[in-house]
């Protein structure tokens, strides 16, 4: 099966990369993610309700898909989403724990609770783009190009799937490491999807 990387994006604590080029972000006193959101001129108020992991994944997906998905209204059954990370939803789990820690001040936050699963980020990307293909999320101790390669190839065994958004979306304790790839089994242009190339693009 011939698969090609037709787009890729990366967000770290201080850099935003799209197809290998650094994206200029106007820094303000606001948070890093909010500065990225405004620099990309996005308009999606639900973004502000997301946890850090979803914000990071969402922003990387907006970059990734900017030239590929222009119609957000039509349901897309031919795209799957497959993401991985190391920290699961620990960042949000800790935040939720704080809301239930003190018996005298016990106010569990529903808005925080809904993000205490790492796969919510796949749902946020799917909802935004009306992606109806399968979504999956795996937790792995380290970033493994081999695992990412094998799982992504498996996603294409579904005959309806023509494109896969795959990658690594990790956020914990203010450390952001997000790397997304858009794969296609139809588009002959792009970078061949191999373990080596995943490694090279991630660096």
């Amino acid at each position: 099966m011939e698969l090609n990387v037709i787009s890729y994006s990366k967000i770290t604590n201080n850099k935003v990369i799209y197809k290998g080029n650094e994206v200029s972000i106007q820094r303000t006193e606001s948070s890093w993610f909010h500065d990225i959101y405004r620099s990309l001129k996005l308009s999606y108020p639900k973004f502000f309700k997301m946890d850090h992991l979803s914000k990071a994944g969402f922003l990387a997906s907006e970059l990734l898909l900017q030239e590929e998905i222009t119609d957000r209204e039509t349901p897309k059954k031919d795209i799957a989403i497959l993401l991985m990370n190391r920290s699961a939803s620990l960042d949000d789990d800790r935040m939720y724990q704080k809301t239930i820690q003190d018996k005298e001040n016990y106010f569990p936050s529903p808005a925080v609770f809904v993000y205490t699963l790492p796969n919510i980020v796949t749902g946020e990307i799917a909802i935004r783009n009306k992606i109806m293909g399968e979504t999956s999320f795996f937790v792995s101790e380290t970033f493994s190009p081999k695992q990412l390669y094998q799982l992504s190839v498996t996603a294409f065994t579904d005959p309806d799937i023509k494109r896969v958004i795959c990658g690594w979306t990790d956020y914990e304790l203010n450390n952001c490491d997000v790397f997304l790839l858009l794969l296609s089994n139809e588009n002959k242009e792009g970078i061949p999807f191999t373990i080596n190339n995943i490694n090279n693009l991630y660096k």
Partner: protein, 85 residues
């Protein structure tokens, strides 16, 4: 009442992360749900938590919120009558 309405608008913006909305943007007589602010069911639960945490008002069931959260003004009137802190 006006002071409570303003306080409530600020609290709603903060707890619901309505980042790009200012108190002046919220019409105290407009419905909170269904249009305008575009709030969802999770936001409704957050408002229930806000009522208890900030004003000591415990709603016994979520359906009570349907009447109380009709608008900021109705919410403020309810708070003024029932607040314990």
């Amino acid at each position: 009442m006006d002071a409570l309405i303003l306080e409530l608008k600020k609290e709603i913006i903060e707890v619901l992360n309505l980042e790009e909305i200012t108190p002046e943007d919220i019409d105290e007589n407009a419905p909170l749900f269904g249009e305008g602010l575009g709030l969802d069911s999770i936001d409704a639960l957050e408002l229930i938590v806000l009522m208890e945490k900030n004003y000591g008002i415990k709603l016994n069931n979520a359906s009570e919120g349907r009447d109380i959260f009709k608008s900021v003004r109705i919410m403020a009137e309810y708070i003024e009558k029932h607040r314990t802190k």
